[in-house]
């Protein structure tokens, strides 16, 4: 009897469950749609707790129940669980990552507003609540004397908060409408009063118009010019009228953000995740595009993200400011890494995964990144001097 009981217990402890649910997923046209999928590797029949991921709400350590009445939370938990599983499989199956294979169950926190504290795990609830963001947390030893236990690797998805245009820290610059109208005025040869008068009267002197026609023509020119001047004067106002007034980001519902954050954890064996630098953000962005299978990140998903996304096929050229951490989230490094495929070929992701030990979060682009690309390539099995030369030309053309 005892033997049977033991056998049953072993079976239960190793068995995993599937759960059919609705998530936000990309379709073939890269549009975000609600899709029914089967979540796998769940170890609980009642909670969002799997072998590799436990989805919790806020600071709680209890997994979210599958039957939660909060539909939005359910959608977020399902979406995050599904895409994290997909990202994990990519690192294991495609990149043969032993580190990822041996990662312990990761806690994924949804709707968490607290600032991360390296000692205390969660900063005080009243301290600068965070929204519209996601964050990868390294494991911590805790602070036992203060009753704070150790924690493992975690990913935090902040809640969405609608921010008004006027409250934005980095407002989109107005002025492009005004500039366009000014250019238009130049094109129609009315930049100065002299030229305007010339255009009104001299043009008609050459054409043999009747008096009524001439008056009509003058009125039309003057009227159109007046409208144009009004447009220039109110250019910024018109632009503001067309500009988005509210901004938000629901990071737990954007698949590429989930891939990006998981990549930070997957590369954390070599690249420190404590600092947000152009190199580690660029690497995370690159693998996010590979997992999603599209060069765009967080685009075409206006329902959940109204900020600018990223495009790996951007044509940005190197500028010194891209080296600073203030530009960590610019897509320049992503563009450089993605473009390597045109030189190295389809296994660029494997190549870049091998490259990670030679860079860290504090590496710069112009020296360390370029050097590690070349040095890593020199060590590959398919090394060819010509490809090395092509790599150097490619990096030069990127302005590095």
């Amino acid at each position: 009897m005892n033997k049977y009981l033991l056998f049953l217990l072993i079976i239960i402890s190793f068995s995993t469950f599937g759960y059919e649910t609705t998530i936000i997923n990309r379709n073939q046209k890269f549009k975000a749609k609600k899709t029914k999928v089967m979540l796998k590797d769940l170890i609980s029949e009642t909670h969002f707790e799997g072998k590799y991921f436990k989805i919790v709400n806020g600071k709680s350590n209890e997994a979210i129940v599958l039957t939660t009445k909060n539909q939005e939370l359910h959608l977020k938990a399902s979406t995050v669980y599904y895409h994290l599983t997909k990202a994990r499989e990519y690192f294991i199956n495609r990149l043969n990552s032993d580190y990822v294979k041996n990662l312990k169950q990761m806690t994924i926190r949804l709707e968490i507003k607290n600032v991360f504290n390296e000692l205390g795990h969660f900063a005080n609830d009243n301290l600068d609540p965070q929204y519209n963001n996601a964050l990868s947390i390294p494991q911590g030893k805790g602070y036992p004397s203060a009753g704070i236990g150790p924690w493992g690797q975690e990913i935090w998805f902040r809640p969405k908060k609608i921010i008004k245009y006027k409250d934005l820290e980095k407002k989109p610059k107005l002025g492009s409408f005004k500039a366009a109208f000014k250019q238009f005025r130049r094109q129609v040869h009315l930049p100065t009063l002299n030229r305007f008068l010339g255009d009104v009267f001299i043009r008609d002197a050459y054409t043999q118009l009747t008096r009524t026609q001439r008056v009509d023509s003058i009125i039309r020119t003057a009227g159109a010019s007046l409208v144009l001047e009004l447009l220039i004067f109110n250019g910024n106002l018109i632009e503001w009228f067309f500009t988005r007034k509210k901004y938000w980001l629901d990071s737990a519902l954007v698949p590429e953000i989930i891939y990006h954050e998981y990549t930070h954890q997957a590369l954390s064996d070599e690249i420190d995740i404590n600092i947000s630098s152009p190199i580690n953000e660029g690497m995370a962005d690159y693998f996010a595009t590979k997992i999603s299978g599209n060069s765009k990140l967080a685009e075409k998903i206006k329902k959940y993200n109204t900020f600018n996304g990223k495009n790996a096929k951007n044509k940005k050229l190197f500028q010194l400011q891209y080296e600073t951490n203030g530009f960590a989230n610019a897509d320049f490094v992503l563009g450089v890494l993605y473009g390597l495929e045109s030189v190295i070929g389809i296994d660029t992701d494997k190549f870049l995964y091998k490259l990670r030990p030679s860079v860290d979060a504090s590496s710069n682009i112009k020296d360390q990144l370029t050097k590690s690309i070349i040095k890593t390539y020199e060590k590959t099995e398919n090394y060819h001097p010509l490809t090395r030369l092509k790599l150097m030309r490619y990096l030069h053309l990127k302005g590095i």
């Binding site: 023509s217 112009k366 020296d367 010509l386 150097m392």
Partner: protein, 434 residues
């Protein structure tokens, strides 16, 4: 001056020293101009749609006449001498295809088909085509040395003897006209007073009028030059023979050259010059493929090293190699051996490909490097400039408010096709390499 000449001489010796005896395993016996390097012929490019359509149509049509069977016959029966003398190939082709002198287009396309099958290359094809324009066939059977017994007919006797000894027509007429220092009046007077028949006089006069003697590189000379170049080709570093590949880069038409880089190279430069240009590319290739980092040492006035700068950035190494390469190319221009010629980048490319220094892939990479110096404008960019100019002019003559529409269109075009930003390279020691 003396030192400079000696340096040049030594440089040539060193260049050629690297190139040990041949590894060019080519069938010289019967097809001296066998094409192993050129891709699509420079003679096959047509600028207009109609031109391309007509070319393809005719190739298809005449390929049915000069079919595989006949091409095989040409391969088996035509000997080296048939290719070397332009008139002989044309005569044999006329006979094989049973065409008359008047069937110019047919003959031209038969020559194209021979080129498509790589039995000849572009230099040889160019010579045949040019000769075809002047003489579809040459009959010199009446030129018997015994006819010219008079003392003043010695040039004709020599001409006849040479033609009997199978010398090529171009070389023979060039020697003949050389007797008269290529003076038109003297040649005319001589021919008038000679015992030649009317059609014979006409033949020689036509050869002179059509400047046959000015042929930059006749097939005879070309064959000699080719032999010299190929005798200098060495196996690659591993000792294996070079894997020759055909490339469109060296056989495509280049506007400034008015021909292809390879044809231009072979017509303009001798074997020594080609070897020197090849050496420059070889140096660049070695540097570009092997250089890992740079070390700049700064000395004071007492020759003491006081600063050392290590440059490890791969892009800086690359820029240095390119700049040095460009400097070496410019230095060639002042080399005494290149007195009246200014070699272009295309010449360097063609020279190294001809000498087997670089393979097809490296040639492509070098070709792209030229884009760094002379960025090419795309068709759309060219169209945009013209559309913009035309619309701006139109907007002046169009009455308001319709001119506003044109201007709005212009702004829209410019907005959506803004100039891409240029890199500043402010962080670089060597800067941009344009």
């Amino acid at each position: 001056m003396m030192t400079k000449q000696l340096t040049t001489f030594l440089f040539i010796l060193i260049s050629l020293g690297f190139l040990s005896e041949r590894a060019w395993c080519i069938d010289y016996k019967n097809t001296p101009f066998l094409n192993k390097l050129e891709g699509k012929s420079v003679h096959f490019y047509r600028k207009t749609f109609f031109g391309r359509w007509n070319f393809n149509r005719r190739i298809e049509k005449f390929s049915k006449e000069l079919d595989d069977k006949k091409l095989e016959f040409i391969k088996k029966t035509f000997i080296k001498n048939d290719y070397i003398c332009e008139e002989k190939l044309l005569t044999k082709l006329n006979k094989l295809m049973e065409i008359t002198d008047r069937q110019y287009i047919r003959r031209t396309y038969y020559l194209y088909i021979i080129r498509i099958n790589n039995l000849i290359d572009d230099v040889a094809l160019g010579n045949y085509l040019n000769f075809n324009k002047v003489f579809p066939s040459v009959n010199l059977s009446s030129f018997n040395p015994k006819r010219f017994t008079q003392k003043n007919e010695k040039p004709l006797r020599i001409f006849s003897l040479r033609s009997k000894s199978k010398q090529c027509f171009i070389e023979n007429t060039t020697s003949f006209f050389g007797e008269f220092k290529f003076n038109k009046k003297r040649i005319k007077t001589f021919l008038k007073n000679s015992s030649l028949k009317k059609f014979e006089k006409k033949l020689l006069l036509r050869a002179f009028k059509k400047d046959l003697y000015k042929f930059q590189l006749s097939n005879k000379k070309y064959e000699e030059k080719l032999r010299t170049i190929r005798s200098k080709i060495s196996p690659d570093n591993t000792g294996t023979a070079i894997d020759w590949q055909k490339s469109n880069i060296i056989s495509r038409p280049v506007d400034e050259l008015k021909t292809s880089p390879r044809v231009n190279l072979l017509k303009k430069y001798n074997a020594f010059q080609i070897a020197i240009m090849n050496k420059v590319i070889k140096n660049f290739q070695q540097r570009a493929e092997m250089a890992s980092w740079l070390n700049i040492q700064i000395f004071d006035t007492n020759n003491n090293l006081f600063e050392e700068i290590k440059i490890e950035s791969p892009t800086e190494v690359y820029r240095f190699c390119i700049k040095l390469f460009r400097k070496e190319m410019s230095e060639i221009k002042i080399n005494q051996l290149f007195n009246n010629t200014v070699p272009s980048f295309h010449d360097f490319l063609a020279a190294s490909y001809e000498m087997g220094t670089i393979n097809h892939d490296f040639l492509e990479e070098l070709y792209k490097i030229e884009d760094l110096w002379n960025p090419k404008r795309t068709k759309w960019e060219k169209v945009k400039v013209w559309a913009s100019i035309t619309s701006q002019i139109a907007s002046v003559f169009t009455p308001p408010p319709y001119n506003y529409l044109i201007s709005f269109g212009l702004i829209a075009i410019e907005y959506y096709n803004r100039k891409t930003e240029t890199a500043s390279y402010e962080h670089s020691i060597f800067g941009d390499i344009k």
